[in-house]
């Protein structure tokens, strides 16, 4: 369907542009917000691909929690808010450009060479079905991942804990 094609092209182009802004801007807040936009467009793409639940998960978890976490991190590490020219490592730039472009080239070549099919448009994914599969067939990875979350939680708390005796006034 041509309309869907055009929409998808626009979306993907926008995705790439915003992603480029993430890595090139010299303002950290702009970078974080650009990431938000990247994720949002990703969620839109997922909607297009009939993966509603995943899109929602992205919005809720990724944008809602992870980005907020990032913003917290940025604040805590006293990243200079506003334009900061020292954000990029200039020495690496050209080489990094080369590397990333070659990776892009290789990946796209491989993808184009291998995959040539069409997307099957459905009316959407049944969330019930997803839940059922998740908790029956993939229950083991599900549990493991929850443990990982638990461990990460505990680990995060432990790592970030402060000993009152060592605390400096200037620290948070």
């Amino acid at each position: 369907m041509e309309a869907l094609d055009i929409i998808s092209y626009f979306l993907l182009l926008g995705l790439l542009l915003v992603a480029v802004k993430v890595v090139t801007t010299s303002n950290v807040i702009h970078a974080a917000i650009s990431l938000v936009f990247t994720l949002a467009i990703t969620a839109a793409t997922f909607l297009l691909l009939s993966a509603e639940f995943v899109a929602l998960v992205i919005v809720l978890v990724y944008i809602g929690a992870v980005i907020v976490l990032f913003l917290f991190g940025i604040m805590i590490t006293r990243a200079p808010l506003g334009q900061n020219a020292e954000l990029d490592n200039d020495k690496n730039k050209s080489l990094a450009l080369v590397v990333s472009l070659s990776i892009f080239g290789i990946f796209s070549y491989v993808m184009l060479d291998t995959f040539d099919s069409q997307i099957i448009i459905t009316s959407g994914t049944s969330t019930e079905l997803l839940g059922e599969i998740l908790l029956s067939r993939f229950v083991f990875p599900f549990e493991v991942v929850s443990f990982v979350l638990l461990a990460a939680l505990i680990g995060g708390i432990t790592l970030a804990r402060q000993d009152n005796a060592l605390m400096d006034e200037n620290q948070i």
Binding site: F53, F70, G73, I76, L87, K93, S108, F115, L159
Partner: protein, 101 residues
């Protein structure tokens, strides 16, 4: 719709993320770039899921897992960044070269 634009977009996102990892000086920015990469992978999974018409929806399920793990990783990563910042008062990744020869 053809699957190829999506794949190429995912590849592009991936390489942009790579670029960001290699170039950014702030640790948090690096983590941000890592999120980009993960996101690219997510797109790939969902596209394949849609392409294959999988009855088990494995692509989507795996995407959920990836998101979960990414969240956990960001949590830990930022905790580490916090500790680093407490010790070194800086978030410049060039400063953390203690594994130098």
């Amino acid at each position: 719709m053809s699957v190829q634009p999506f794949l190429i977009a995912a590849a592009g996102l991936f390489s942009i993320g790579i670029y960001g990892i290699l170039v950014r000086r702030n640790v948090v920015m690096v983590l941000l770039s890592i999120e980009l990469i993960l996101n690219a992978v997510n797109i790939n999974f969902v596209v394949f899921n849609a392409m294959l018409g999988d009855a088990l929806l494995q692509g989507q399920i795996f995407t959920i897992f990836i998101i979960t793990i990414a969240a956990a990783e960001v949590g830990i990563g930022l905790a580490i960044v916090l500790m680093l910042f407490r010790n070194r008062k800086t978030a410049n990744i060039d400063e953390f070269d203690l594994l130098k020869w």
